[in-house]
């Protein structure tokens, strides 16, 4: 391994961490705003920078500042080692699991693209670690996060924390089983545990997606439902957030945590959401693939795609700019003082959306440039960016589904939770595995 | 009319009959010497036999009343007082004033005889405050009689002492009620006292007291002089004797008439009293002072003038003989309001129903008169009258209630025509017979 390869791996690690960690604050903001809209509230709207509130995004900044500045309260009777290490585990686990997720098709650098380098065609897999264990690695790691919660619960030396920790571990272990079984179904139908291969298999039509064709529809759908439900439980999100049952056990396992330690738990939850969404997308929803556009096709027709995207982006962004301009007549702006700094906001938004429109125009220009043969942007790079963008869009959609479900459904009772897990999902998952096996035999035998 | 007897009024036509010399020429003070020769019990018996009923209004047999005075051994050494009730205040009644003015010796003689009969050493003539001029004449008569030895110590050498004093009231209708009169005589507010004890047992100054009307006293003179049998030749079986009637209102010859009891009422009104003004029809008659129930022309036509007949025919009373005749020009609502104003003005203010109720009834009637009332008010009025009647210390409450009850009952149209009809109240609610078309009895809260 040479330094370049090490550099490439380091860059990929950096990207993976950045991918998760940059979505987390946006997700936190998104959850606040979406939940507010679901409940007909305005959501966060007080924090501002020079009158610009950015729809409440500034609050995330203030939260970060606040959490850094806050006193780190440490219970006297806490078991120090456990207590210290506990918040780290879920976060590390969340980031670790992301290492095997592919975020694009392989990135090929043709030989001698940059003078002498590379010596031969260099194919860089777009995932941090392409290991054979693949999904198994994820299963192994994600089950570790329960340690963080258990240690936090135990180490806090607080009965609420302890109860929360116990609940969490019982819940996570219960649902891991069903989750594993539903993943097994996908292994069967894909015939591999490697996520990059799974992603490749789903290219093309959306009927190549995991929940559809390769799985004979019903098997994949059932597997998806079980998997998604388990993911909800694994991430301790509503309707399965019993470890934090505020009404009964205060805040559960992280009752005693404050400041950045609490923030770690907090972020870990969102990191898990992102990882969960990413895996869902990877397993069932075509991974990074753009529907109906195989990577090869995409690369071949990248000019047209860029032009189309850019041209579509301009009116859309201008429409949003127009909306923003219209919003200056809201009762809100009539209610606050004329010299209030927030009066600038409509202009700000108009500017932002105009910039976005310009960016779209730039995209179109890039496509045109390729079309006329100027090659301002390499086709491979464009494909990479489009794939990452596609993945981002899909992941964000499922993150929204997380939030959506949270603010729609009420919390389960603990016995209901256990009932559902053990008496409903596990049998159904086992049956589904059988079904999948039959399907695979049929497929291999009759349809091949 | 030929049949007009002249027992009490025998000296009225004689000029200056109030002078003792003139009066004695015509038979005054002739009975006294004979009476003094009788035992007190004998006189009482004669009066009892004559069936003389008190002429003040209640019609209680005089001799029976005298019999209530405890015998000397039961009096604890207390004296007996005779009080002559000359507080003639009943609207429509003015016979006593004539009697005292025209022929004071007639009743003075009766007073002395009565005082002797019941064993009283002092007799008080309680005159209403407005009768200052009458008092002067009575005082003169007393002085003349005293000079002749008919009044004072050792009357006519018989050893009997009777002092007669006049006592002037000061304007209060209620002082015509015997216990109120005694209170007033004692120098207090003229408020009726509780019965029992009755005045004949415990009256003025807590001593046995007999209170008799002026006309009664005058009749006693005649009865003792002529005997009970002679007296019974006049009048009817149960209402023997003659009666002074004072007629007022819409008749051509109002005034005081002495009549033989039992003559037809309509004849009396139409002939003796001069009849109505030409072209007028009789509308109603109040036969015995304002407080007795009213009579319709039909009842007048059927009734004869005596205690029983009037009550049987119309439920009314002969009372004090103050007959008020009303022709068809009369507005009965206004008339009743006028009467109630009188009662509201004259209530002594002692006991609750009368104190508060008369004023309230007047206020309602005032509104009825002015057209500001509804038929619910009429039901209230009737109900109030029922609530006052016989719930009070003295008879005043009933006196105020009876006109309301009877006027509403017998002339409902007069009142219903003056009020706003809500339809909640029917004729039965005011105690009236429902006419043909009207449904019997509305139901209102007031009526309940």
């Amino acid at each position: 391994m040479d330094w370049i390869q090490i550099g490439i791996v380091a860059a990929k690690i950096g990207f993976a961490v950045a991918f998760v960690m940059s979505i987390v604050p946006i997700l936190i903001w998104g959850e606040r705003k979406w939940s507010a809209y679901i409940q007909d509230r305005p959501g966060p709207n007080r924090a501002q920078i020079a009158g610009i509130r950015a729809g409440g995004l500034v609050h995330v900044l203030t939260d970060v500042v606040k959490l850094f500045m806050k006193e780190d309260v440490q219970p006297t009777a806490a078991m120090k080692a456990y207590w210290w290490v506990a918040p780290l585990i879920p976060m590390i686990v969340g980031l670790m699991t992301f290492t095997v997720v592919p975020w694009s098709s392989d990135f090929a650098i043709p030989a001698h693209s940059f003078g002498d380098w590379p010596a031969a065609d260099l194919t860089i897999p777009m995932q941090v670690a392409r290991i054979n264990a693949g999904m198994l690695f994820i299963l192994a790691f994600s089950s570790l996060s329960v340690y963080g919660i258990m240690l936090a619960g135990w180490g806090s030396n607080n009965k609420f924390s302890m109860l929360g920790g116990l609940r969490a571990s019982a819940q996570m272990i219960s649902y891991e089983l069903a989750m594993g079984l539903s993943v097994v179904v996908m292994f069967l139908v894909y015939g591999t545990v490697r996520l990059d291969e799974i992603a490749q298999q789903q290219a093309g039509s959306i009927f190549n997606w995991g929940i559809f064709a390769p799985t004979g529809f019903i098997v994949g759908l059932i597997a998806f439902l079980i998997y998604w439900t388990s993911v909800l439980a694994e991430t301790n999100r509503l309707p399965f957030d019993l470890p934090e049952g505020e009404a009964e056990i205060v805040a559960g396992y992280h009752t005693e945590y404050s400041s950045m330690r609490f923030a770690l738990f907090f972020m870990a939850e969102y990191a898990h959401m992102i990882v969960g969404s990413t895996l869902t997308v990877t397993l069932f929803f075509g991974s990074y693939n753009i529907p109906f556009l195989r990577p090869e096709t995409l690369q071949a027709n990248i000019d047209g795609v860029l032009i189309a995207l850019g041209c579509l982006g301009i009116p859309v962004n201008l429409f949003f700019a127009w909306l923003a301009w219209k919003r200056r007549r809201r009762v809100f702006y009539l209610s606050i003082r004329p010299d209030d700094p927030r009066q600038k906001e409509p202009k700000f938004w108009v500017a932002v959306w105009t910039m976005a429109a310009l960016a779209s125009a730039g995209l179109a220009v890039l496509g045109i440039s390729r079309w006329v043969g100027m090659h301002l942007l390499a086709a491979e790079t464009a494909v990479l960016l489009l794939h990452i963008g596609m993945l981002l869009v899909k992941v964000m959609f499922f993150c929204y589904v997380f939030v959506w479900i949270r603010w729609t459904l009420p919390r389960f009772r603990y016995d209901q939770l256990m009932n559902l897990g053990w008496r409903m999902m596990v049998p159904v998952a086992i049956a589904n595995v059988l079904l999948a096996g039959i399907w695979v035999i049929i497929r291999e035998t009759f349809l091949a | 009319m030929a049949m007009e007897p002249s027992i009490l009024t025998s000296r009225w036509k004689i000029p200056d009959a109030h002078r003792i010399d003139v009066a004695m020429k015509h038979g005054a003070w002739a009975t006294l010497p004979a009476a003094l020769k009788m035992a007190p019990g004998e006189i009482t018996q004669v009066v009892k036999d004559s069936g003389l009923r008190g002429r003040g209004g209640a019609g209680f047999p005089t001799g029976v009343k005298w019999g209530f005075v405890p015998p000397p051994e039961k009096r604890n050494g207390k004296p007996v007082y005779l009080v002559c009730n000359a507080d003639e205040s009943e609207p429509g009644t003015f016979k006593d004033r004539y009697l005292m003015w025209k022929d004071p010796h007639m009743f003075l003689e009766g007073i002395v005889i009565s005082a002797y009969a019941i064993g009283a050493k002092a007799a008080y003539i309680y005159l209403r405050g407005e009768f200052g001029f009458v008092r002067r004449r009575v005082d003169e008569a007393i002085a003349e009689a005293r000079a002749k030895g008919f009044i004072g110590r050792n009357i006519l050498g018989s050893g009997v002492d009777v002092e007669v004093y006049t006592h002037l009231g000061a304007g209060a209708y209620i002082c015509g009620e015997e216990t109120a009169l005694l209170s007033s005589l004692e120098g207090k507010k003229g408020q009726p006292k509780l019965k029992p004890p009755f005045p004949a047992v415990e009256g003025a100054w807590r001593a046995p007291t007999i209170v008799n009307n002026v006309e009664t006293m005058a009749a006693v003179t005649w009865i003792v002089g002529h005997g009970a049998a002679a007296y019974r030749e006049f009048g009817t079986e149960k209402s023997p004797g003659t009666k002074l009637l004072s007629v007022s209102g819409h008749v051509l010859k109002p005034g005081v008439y002495e009549i033989d009891m039992g003559i037809p009422m309509m004849d009396f009104i139409m002939d003796t009293a001069g009849g109505l003004r030409p072209g007028r029809k009789l509308k109603a008659v109040v036969p015995g002072g304002s407080s007795v129930p009213i009579m319709t022309p039909d009842e007048v036509a059927r009734a004869t003038i005596d205690y029983e007949s009037i009550h049987e025919v119309s439920g009314s009373y002969l009372g004090s003989g103050g007959m008020i005749v009303m022709d068809d020009t009369t507005d009965l609502a206004e008339g009743l309001a006028n009467l109630l104003r009188f009662y509201a003005h004259e209530s002594c203010g002692q006991c609750t129903p009368c104190r508060e109720g008369t004023g309230w009834m007047f206020r309602i009637l005032k509104r009825v008169k002015e057209g500001r009332a509804t038929d619910v008010d009429l039901a209230t009025l009737k109900n109030l009258a029922d609530n006052i009647h016989s719930k009070t210390i003295c008879f005043f409450g009933a006196s105020a209630a009876m006109p309301v009850q009877s006027w509403l009952k017998k002339f409902p149209d007069e009142f219903f025509g003056r009020v706003h009809r809500t339809g909640k109240v029917g004729y039965a609610d005011v105690g009236a017979e429902p006419p043909g078309g009207d449904k019997p009895g509305g139901t209102t809260q007031a009526a309940k």
Binding site: - | I174, L194, A344, G349, C351, R355, E356, A373, N383, N387
Partner: protein, 537 residues
């Protein structure tokens, strides 16, 4: 004894009893306003109208109906209900809607009977008649003629009880208005009773005015301690604060009345000069420490100078129990101690006496202490005390409740003085040890009034500050002196007292009842064993 029937219940009553009282004995409450058991019958409110079943005619008022054989009344017929409703309506026709500002609210007969007998909707469509409101007619009375229902109770009270006749009903008809002669004021010292007997809010107590709504108050029966009459009172209190005294009916003592001096004496419970903490030679130390110091001094005096150098003055203002417990405590520890009884009035007693209720002796328990002293046999009087003080032999004097120094006047003071009292006075000023004695309304115990009637006190409020009942202090002193056997509870002390003082033979604290019990004028020769009413240990 005539037998009458009330609602079918036969009841035998004393001759001359009216039917309201007879019905009360039959357990039937007949509503009334103008009738008052201690005033002449006026019969003008008409609220007590009842149906006469037998022995009379028609509906009649119960207050003016004397019980006689064969009389039967009913109070539960529809007619009676109708009559009550109509009378209530008449009473309220011109009554102002003053309940929110009226102090009588909560104990107002109009309200009570209205809830029970009223018709609960108004038929009055006309203006009400108004009369003069808020007239200041006496030191203790505000008159609101508008609220008056002309029951004339106050008129009869001022005519028959105080015989001053200031109050009259003026005018007639519904303009009848209660009042005094313009320019004059109530002059007697029973003004508070006017507010008590007024069934509505026309006469209200200026002192109590707007202080508290009556329904927040709880009443505890007690006895007034301002003079030897010992009027029975109800102590109205809320959350440990006394707001007023009201006379409690006791026909043998105060009927339904009490004087204004006694009535206002509730203020003394929270007065500035209350002794709230124990004080010894070194300042405030706590009751037990001061008692210990006092006991040491008693011991020392008795040891050094003989028993006769210790003296005790019994308190005519303290309860029987306090006196007896004190006497027993000292006699047990210092058998030869000299005991005195100094009668007389303290300087803080009010200077007024009449022949109605206010007794010349302003101490509530003179009679009781006399009896205790008599039973003890060796109690000296004021002269004896003066003499004992003059010769200097009396070195330590314990004083219970009374301002003995003021009563004695110029006298040589003892070397050391201990004062058990409720209010500061000349004796407490001069005392070396001062112990806080709980006031009469704060303790359980008994007073014996001038008639020899033993009347029970019950604690209405907790004792103020550190103060304690006399028997508790006495028991504490006895303990400090080494005597542990004496009872400290009031019932126990009274039991002991009844067993030892002949005049009290056979009495028990719980057995005194609401009206008290007379002591034996001539003590029975044999001791009657009192019932032991002490609670089981």
């Amino acid at each position: 004894m005539p037998t009458v029937k009330v609602n079918g219940i036969e009841v035998e009553v004393a001759p001359g009893t009216n039917m309201i009282e007879a019905a009360r004995q039959a357990g039937v409450d007949i509503p009334h306003y103008c009738y008052h058991p201690h005033l002449p019958v006026a019969g003008n409110c008409r609220m007590c109208l009842v149906d006469v079943e037998a022995g009379g005619r028609g509906p009649d008022i119960a207050c003016n109906m004397q019980a006689r054989d064969g009389l039967a009344i009913r109070t539960d017929t529809d007619n009676v209900k109708r009559m009550r409703r109509s009378v209530m309506e008449f009473l309220l026709v011109n009554h102002p809607l003053d309940c929110p500002i009226c102090d009588q609210a909560g104990e107002c007969r109009l309200q009570d009977y209205y809830m029970e007998h009223g018709q609960h909707h108004s038929r009055l469509a006309d203006e009400k008649i108004t009369r003069t409101k808020r007239q200041d007619i006496g030191d203790l009375i505000i008159l609101d003629a508008d609220r008056c229902i002309a029951c004339s109770r106050c008129v009869r009270f001022s005519d028959e009880v105080t015989k001053t006749g200031e109050l009259r009903l003026f005018n007639r008809t519904d303009h009848t208005e209660i009042g005094v002669f313009p320019g004059t004021r109530l002059s007697h010292h029973y003004q508070g009773c006017l507010a008590d007997i007024c069934p509505v809010g026309a006469l209200t107590n200026k002192d109590f005015r707007f202080q508290k709504r009556s329904w927040y108050l709880r009443a505890e029966p007690s006895v007034c301690d301002r003079c030897a009459t010992g009027c029975n009172i109800d102590v109205d209190h809320d959350h440990g604060e006394v707001f007023r005294y009201r006379p409690r009916r006791n026909d043998a003592v105060n009927k339904s009345w009490m004087c204004d001096f006694g009535r206002l004496s509730y203020k003394r419970l929270a007065a500035e000069d209350r002794i709230l903490t124990a004080r010894g030679p070194e300042g405030a130390e706590g009751v037990d420490a001061v008692l210990a110091g006092l006991a040491a001094a008693v011991d020392a005096a008795a040891r050094d100078h003989g028993d006769g150098s210790v003296g005790l003055v019994l308190g005519t203002r303290a309860t029987n129990e306090a006196n007896w417990a004190m006497l027993r405590a000292l006699r047990a520890a210092v058998p030869g101690a000299r005991v005195f009884l100094v009668e007389g009035n303290d300087p803080d007693a009010f200077d007024y006496t009449d022949d109605l209720l206010v007794h010349a002796d302003k101490n509530p328990n003179t009679a009781g202490v006399r009896l205790i002293a008599e039973a003890d046999g060796a109690v000296g009087d004021a002269e004896a005390l003066r003499a004992a003080l003059a010769d200097g032999g009396l070195r330590l004097l314990l004083v219970l409740a009374d301002d003995v120094l003021a009563r004695l006047g110029e006298v040589r003071r003892p070397e050391a003085l201990a004062f058990f009292g409720t209010w500061a006075n000349a004796t407490s000023e001069a005392a070396r040890w001062v112990l806080p004695l709980a006031a009469a309304q704060e303790v359980e115990g008994s007073f014996t009034n001038f008639q020899g009637r033993v009347q029970r006190l019950q604690p209405a409020i907790p004792a103020a500050g550190d103060s304690r009942p006399g028997q508790v202090l006495a028991a504490g002193l006895a303990r400090a002196l080494g005597e542990d056997a004496l009872p400290a509870g009031a019932a126990g002390v009274f039991h002991d007292l009844a067993a030892n003082v002949p005049a009290f033979f056979g009495l028990s604290l719980a057995g005194l009842g609401a009206e008290g019990a007379l002591v034996h004028r001539e003590p029975p020769t044999e001791q009657v064993a009192p019932p032991d009413t002490r609670p089981a240990p």
